[in-house]
């Protein structure tokens, strides 16, 4: 057999192999209205989630993320796989919004809560009033404090003043990772 032809055939075999294996080995993020982050499962439909939250009388935590955000990966590893965080999150209805999504629902939430870089968490009442927000990355301890603050506020019926930008007045200091490459394509 002609060497170059043989190599070329091997090339296509490798190509198809890589393509097939990688496509099937990719971790499933979402399907059937859910997406997975770390060991937690988040709803993707906001309207459904609000119904759940209202029925259970619990606040909603909205997680804005993207596939390429390195701090989201940190959240997956440090927070959503941490038993303490997971049990705290059980008191919330969880909704994950992919910032790269063009779905109407996602765009509306982004605009409503003025979110333009990942990762961000906005904790709201079932009516959509902001309880607190966690811009960027917050270490596990701080993250828990934020959740507790939100829970307390929800119980006492108060909300953050307006919910425009970085409120979270009672929350501890976070270190927001400005991993905001969301707009790099602008310069591409």
């Amino acid at each position: 057999m002609n060497p170059r032809k043989a190599m070329t055939i091997a090339f296509f075999a490798a190509l198809l192999g890589i393509g097939y294996v990688s496509m099937n080995a990719a971790p499933v993020l979402s399907g059937e209205g859910y997406s997975h982050h770390g060991e937690t499962r988040w709803q993707t439909d906001y309207a459904d989630a609000v119904e759940t939250a209202a029925a259970e009388d619990e606040p909603v935590v909205i997680y804005f993320w993207t596939t390429w955000c390195t701090y989201c990966e940190d959240y997956n590893q440090n927070h959503y796989s941490d038993p303490a965080v997971r049990s705290e999150l059980d008191d919330f209805t969880k909704v994950a919004v992919n910032l790269d999504s063009d779905a109407e629902d996602a765009t509306r939430l982004q605009q409503r809560y003025n979110v333009n870089y990942p990762p961000q968490h906005v904790i709201v009442t079932p009516d959509g009033e902001v309880l607190t927000r966690i811009p960027g990355y917050a270490p596990t301890e701080d993250f828990l404090t934020y959740l507790e603050t939100a829970e307390e506020r929800y119980q006492s019926g108060e909300t953050a003043d307006d919910g425009s930008v970085t409120t979270a007045t009672a929350g501890p200091t976070s270190t927001p990772g400005s991993a905001a490459a969301s707009t790099t394509e602008a310069a591409q």
Partner: protein, 814 residues
């Protein structure tokens, strides 16, 4: 119609006419009317450049009547960042791209002319691309009136302040990265046109034009590679300083999108080297040449159109959809055409390796330089595929099954690494084989190949493993992820040794200065690539990070004692707190409306909160409020409170509040302000002046065991008017072995500081310089296809000589 749109329309017209004339003259082989073409080409280029200049002027002069300007700049930005606002979003960057392609087409046309029939086709294709871009710009114009954003505004309305430039782009790297990238994409248009014209000619029964144009193609490709490499590197360095990732690469879609053409271009350069007219690679080399540009357009479409994020929304329209059409056209010309030709022609592939290596054993028939080069092309092809597939398959899978899957850096890293190592081993072998003969070089390959496998198995500590295995991972990822980074060393050493030995020998053997310089360039490129591969995994695996918090950080005294930074060997000392806001005392006109502007906009302002400025012409004090007339007009400012406001007649004031239209019978508009929001224009109240940037930071000194490492300010800049987006101001000490990288988040009196150690950055920077310098040498001094060679020797291939000479390259005339 504004001047910008007129310029674009004229550019489009002259582009259409000149494409049509060239196509006609190619089809019927008749040179009538052809004399108009150079003028029209020049016209298109001049018009597009003029449109770009006009837009730049609008940016610098802050002409907010243009919606695009209004969206992407603001008065507080320096001139440099007003200029870079031009390519901060889609429309402007397409205009930049179009202008550069037009100039490249003009230079190509002027220097070479189009003496042959196929030359006309090549030119028709390049001008065709320019024309298409102009059409795109007309559909979604960077010159649209700001009234598209404010449909209800009265004629002549312009906003007082712009939205501002995306904070991430306020960076020197971003000033230079996009133009460099568009230059490279524009340069790739020429090889595309030549490759596509070649296949069109083949289909029309011609024998194609690639063999006569191969020198020119080589130069365009090399020049394109030079710029593309620089663009990728600049983009990586930007993300290093701006995004605070502590690394240069994160495989986000935009980064991957620019890497794909780079990988494929590298493959194409090797393929063109392997090309022999009428012999091997007579289809593959031109096909790859034609498809690089198609790939660049594809990846641009992926990141720009939005279509690939959700396959259903074609509604986006405008530039997104136009990119898709362009993608279709370039794919047909650059990929489908060559494939069709390949499928239609009889593949008489057996003669290919017949010219060399058939002598002794079967093995020798397999191991020939051209076969090895073929393998290199294939491996680069696979690398390209890995990145391309990572960008595409989530979309495919989600379209087919509705499941959203994630592509992590895992996927890219773990598939690419074995391929890259294989490429390096191949490089070492190729170089060694060329010098040492089959038997010895095979022994060398066996030794280094084995060393690679052993290296993969030996991990001195967990840190050396490529990826931390997670239980849910597929087997293949667990296997590769468990390999040790030690496996990188043997291939790198083999590649460098082989390259240096072979080129060293060649340099010694030749007497020609140009040949020596070219070989030096080849060495620099390949050694640079090997060092780059060395630096990347270690940069990530051996990066370290530790954090410390400091409280009581505020203006005034701070605790300046030295603190340990977590578990690291670093100490940090907080020296002070800094906070500043921009802009400082801007002109009232840049953020406040005049009374006449209020009256012009009239009813539309009713109940909105606005800032106004003007001269006080009358004051009336009432029991619960004071009202003040501005500029003797129908605009009054109402100030709640009883005579407590220190406003005098004749004074220039600024006030912010809700505008009530026809609220009281005596005035058209009244601005309901409070004592806090009214003040003299030369010392306006804080509440009335917009703060665009709040920079907070701590000045710190970082020490390690040997003393001071770096001192300076680290913190963040917040953009309250742009959704509160925050950008890091990092402090970086660029050391020879290790970069020290300080990130600080400062708020509410607390500074949380992280010190990162990023090793091998200097090696990476050096390897990039080596790649670039090497390519410059090869581009200029290659005895066969070099720019310099061609400009002094009247080379066989007629006019191809000087056409790819980049500006600024000094021609040696002797």
């Amino acid at each position: 119609m504004n001047p910008g749109t007129i310029l674009l329309a004229l550019a489009f017209l002259s582009g259409v006419v000149s494409t049509a004339l060239l196509t006609r003259s190619y089809l019927v082989d008749d040179d009538r009317y052809l004399s108009y073409v150079p003028k029209l080409t020049a016209g298109t280029a001049v018009l597009l450049v003029a449109a770009l200049a006009h837009l730049t002027y609008q940016f610098v002069s802050l002409d907010y009547s243009n919606a695009y300007v209004w969206e992407n700049t603001a008065a507080y930005l320096s001139v440099l960042y007003r200029v870079t606002g031009v390519y901060a979003a889609n429309e402007g960057s397409v205009l930049l791209w179009a202008s550069i392609v037009a100039v490249v087409a003009l230079i190509a046309g002027v220097t070479r002319g189009f003496p042959t029939r196929r030359g006309k086709l090549v030119h028709a294709l390049t001008i065709g691309v320019v024309t298409y871009f102009s059409a795109m710009l007309l559909l979604q114009s960077p010159f649209a009136s700001v009234r598209t954003a404010f449909p209800n505004a009265p004629p002549g309305f312009t906003p007082t302040s712009g939205q501002g430039l995306n904070p991430l782009l306020v960076d020197p790297y971003m000033a230079i990265h996009p133009p460099v990238m568009f230059v490279s994409y524009a340069l790739l248009t020429m090889p595309f046109a030549i490759g596509a014209a070649h296949f069109i000619a083949l289909f029309r029964g011609d024998d194609g034009l690639f063999s006569t144009w191969v020198g020119s193609v080589t130069r365009w490709l090399r020049l394109g590679w030079l710029f593309l490499t620089a663009a990728v590197a600049l983009g990586g360095l930007w993300s290093y300083t701006v995004l605070g990732w502590g690394g240069i690469w994160a495989w986000d879609p935009v980064e991957t999108a620019i890497l794909i053409p780079w990988l494929f271009l590298t493959a194409t350069l090797h393929a063109v080297t392997n090309y022999r007219p009428g012999g091997r690679y007579r289809i593959l080399a031109p096909a790859m040449t034609a498809s690089v540009f198609a790939l660049a357009v594809y990846t641009t479409s992926v990141v720009r159109s939005g279509v690939f994020r959700s396959i259903h929304s074609f509604a986006d329209g405008g530039i997104g959809a136009s990119f898709l059409v362009l993608m279709g056209v370039t794919t047909v010309l650059g990929v489908v055409l060559p494939l069709a030709y390949w499928a239609m022609t009889e593949e008489s592939g057996d003669d290919t390796s017949g010219t060399e290596g058939t002598d002794e054993s079967r093995l020798a028939r397999w191991v020939t330089r051209s076969n090895l080069l073929h393998l290199a092309v294939l491996l680069f092809g696979l690398l390209t595929f890995v990145s391309l597939w990572g960008l595409s398959f989530p979309v495919l899978r989600s379209a087919m099954t509705g499941l959203e899957v994630s592509v992590e850096s895992h996927y890219y890293n773990l598939w690419s690494l074995p391929l890259v190592l294989a490429l390096l081993l191949l490089l070492g072998f190729y170089m060694d084989y060329d010098r040492e003969g089959l038997r010895r070089s095979l022994a060398g390959l066996a030794v280094f190949g084995l060393a690679t496998l052993v290296g993969a198995a030996v991990a001195p500590s967990e840190t050396w493993r490529l990826a931390s295995a997670r239980p849910g991972d597929a087997l293949i990822y667990q296997v590769i992820g468990n390999a040790s980074a030690l496996s990188v060393l043997p291939p790198v050493a083999y590649a460098i040794l082989g390259t240096v030995k072979r080129t060293g020998g060649r340099i010694a053997a030749t007497g020609s200065r140009d040949a020596k310089l070219k070989e030096t360039g080849i060495t620099l490129i390949h050694v640079g690539a090997a060092l780059l591969v060395l630096s990347l995994p270690f940069m990530y695996l051996f990066a370290g990070q530790a954090s410390v918090m400091a409280t009581g950080v505020a203006a005034g005294a701070v605790d300046t004692s030295q603190r340990d930074v977590g578990t690291s060997s670093y100490d940090i000392r907080v020296l002070g707190y800094e906070r500043s806001e921009f802009p400082n005392d801007p002109e009232p006109g840049t953020y406040a409306l005049t009374s006449s502007q209020v009256l012009t906009r009239g009813q539309s302002l009713n109940t909105s909160v606005q800032t106004v400025h003007g001269t006080v012409t009358a004051i009336r004090e009432g029991p619960r409020a004071t009202v003040v007339q501005l500029d003797d007009s129908q605009v009054w400012v109402g100030i709640a409170g009883n005579g407590t406001v220190g406003v005098e007649t004749g004074q220039e004031i600024v006030a912010r509040g809700q505008v009530m239209w026809e609220f009281v019978p005596t005035a058209d508009a009244i601005v309901l302000a409070g004592p806090e929001t009214v003040g003299p224009a030369d010392d306006p109240p804080d509440a009335a002046v917009p703060t665009r940037v709040i920079a907070t930071g701590v000045s710190v000194a970082v020490y390690d065991d040997n003393g001071l490492v770096v001192s300076g300010v680290a913190g963040q800049r917040e953009y309250p008017e742009q959704g509160g987006l925050q950008v890091r101001d990092v402090l970086i000490d660029r050391g020879p072995l290790v970069d020290t990288y300080v990130i600080a988040g400062v708020s509410d009196g607390t500074a949380s500081m992280s010190v990162k150690r990023v090793p091998f950055m200097t090696l990476m920077r050096l390897s990039i310089v080596s790649l670039l310098v090497g390519m410059v040498l090869v581009l200029l001094f290659d005895p066969r296809h070099g720019v310099r060679t061609n400009s002094i020797a009247g080379y066989g291939e007629s006019a191809s000589s000087s056409q790819s000479r980049p500006e600024g390259v000094t021609e040696v005339s002797d």
